[in-house]
């Protein structure tokens, strides 16, 4: 049965009916994850930031006030705050998840590929190639094989003569560092996407 309530109504209702918040999550989890993925270029960071954002929203849903705007804007406000903290400190908070008793989950191999599918790499390929020069060799090679050449992780691991997991980690870390490098150069992901 489809819940016909608006996002604001769901948020307000979730104070007495917590399951209403789960409906809100179902509606917007993909979009929020895409929002993070395109800005961080890092599947790990994007997934964790998404989880932390919804956990924070769930924990503080009592402070939501209906101002006439769409309730999802309130969620994105939290997301923006989480992302700015991530770019500032390089760390992802886990406090909200701990507060509501949700464990921190590791990403499975399938998650990496699915989340990368959310990232449209084409417009930023050139910027990435230029920024790749500043990365450590192992991360640069992993990124080049995976992002520029578009090879699967299995092939990347084979070319780099390392385990599959190590290849994923190098790509993930390389992307994270790349995002920071691009940001330091004043090239935000929003601008790149445009």
């Amino acid at each position: 049965v489809t819940d016909e309530r608006t996002d604001s109504e769901l948020l307000l209702a979730s104070n007495g009916e917590p399951s209403a918040f789960v409906e809100l999550y179902r509606r917007h989890a993909d979009d929020v994850l895409r929002y993070f993925a395109r800005r961080t270029l890092d599947p790990e960071a994007a997934a964790e930031l998404t989880a932390e954002t919804f956990a924070e929203a769930f924990a503080s849903r009592g402070s939501y006030r209906d101002t006439g705007a769409n309730g999802v804007g309130w969620i994105y406000g939290i997301a923006k705050h989480q992302m700015s903290r991530f770019f500032r400190s390089g760390r992802i908070d886990r406090e909200a998840r701990a507060k509501i008793g949700i464990p921190v989950r590791e990403l499975e191999p399938e998650d990496y590929e699915r989340i990368e599918d959310l990232i449209d790499f084409e417009p930023i390929r050139q910027a990435l190639i230029e920024a790749l020069g500043g990365l450590p060799a192992d991360q640069r090679d992993a990124l080049r094989l995976r992002i520029v050449d578009g090879l699967s992780y299995g092939v990347v691991a084979e070319r780099l003569q390392c385990a599959d997991t190590a290849a994923r980690q190098r790509v993930s870390r390389g992307l994270r560092r790349l995002a920071l490098v691009l940001q330091e150069r004043g090239l935000t992901m929003t601008e790149v996407e445009a």
């Binding site: 979730s14 999550y25 989890a29 997934a47 919804f54 769930f58 009592g62 949700i102 989950r105 998650d111």
Partner: protein, 342 residues
Amino acid sequence: MNTTIPYLERFHDDLEEAARRAATAPGGAGPRRRRPDPSSWLRWAGAAAAVLVLAWAIGSLPSDGASTKFNQVGSAVGTAGGASGDGTVRQPPADVPAMSPAPVAPEEPGAPDGAPPVDLAKIDRDGTLTLKIDEGSFRDTFDEVIAIAEANGGTLLSSETIGSGAGRLTLRIPAARFDRAFMEVGRLGQVRASTVTGKDVTADFIDLQARLKILKHRREIIFGLYDQATTIPQALQLEGELNEVQLEIDRIQGQLRYLDAQTSISTLKVELSEDEPDVAALSPAEDERADLGEAFSSATDGFLAVVSTMIVGFGYLIPIALLLGVVYAIVTLVRRHGRGAS
């Protein structure tokens, strides 16, 4: 749910579980409002209190011009002998008042017996004595007090008689003989109350002497340059600087003379009475009831003293905090740089 991303599905399940827990939690399904967390307030209050106490503690450390005060109250107000834990020197059971140790060095080798010991510290000391004397002995005791002052190299600064059996005297006694005079006067009657206050100005004195030495050295240099001046503008400029240095030298010498006078001569105020002196006013409990205005005044003084001590403490803490902040910023930058490089 439309997502095909396993991570989001797993989080969905976790969130559903959290929602179920919230719905069945005691106290209702509502989330915690963003009220101030009492423990958080307590932590902040504790931290603020710790900083204030730290500032006070640092500000209370011995510093230049530290003032000490010793209150001695006679047996009439029920004090026990010996030193108390609060730093107050109590009156011994005997009539002779207890004395704070005089800041003196051991006598110099070869010094004649009875010669006054050499002062190591510059301490401005004053005292008061309230004595109950025998009936009909006021005039003789009055004269004896003056005689004691003169015998110790001091003088009578002022006196006042109240009726025929009571009066006050203000004596100026050389600091080196102050303790002796204090004890001798104390023996003339039954001590009902006594105080000795001391302000250590040794550091001020040493500081002024050091500055004076530097200024005199600078004056010598200017004199040398003055002799070598070849043009009138040069000579005029040096003369101006010389005047400034000389002015400062005069000022410091004046301060030194003042400090020297303050520390070389002590003031002793003696109150004599054939009737029982009104020492009840000196008892802390009675004093609070008898003079509410004075109590408020004391409270204000105490408050200001604590605040001023804290301000002094913050004077030390703020630069240290700034220094730590800079170190923290540098460490953070280095770590960030290191993390970026890896």
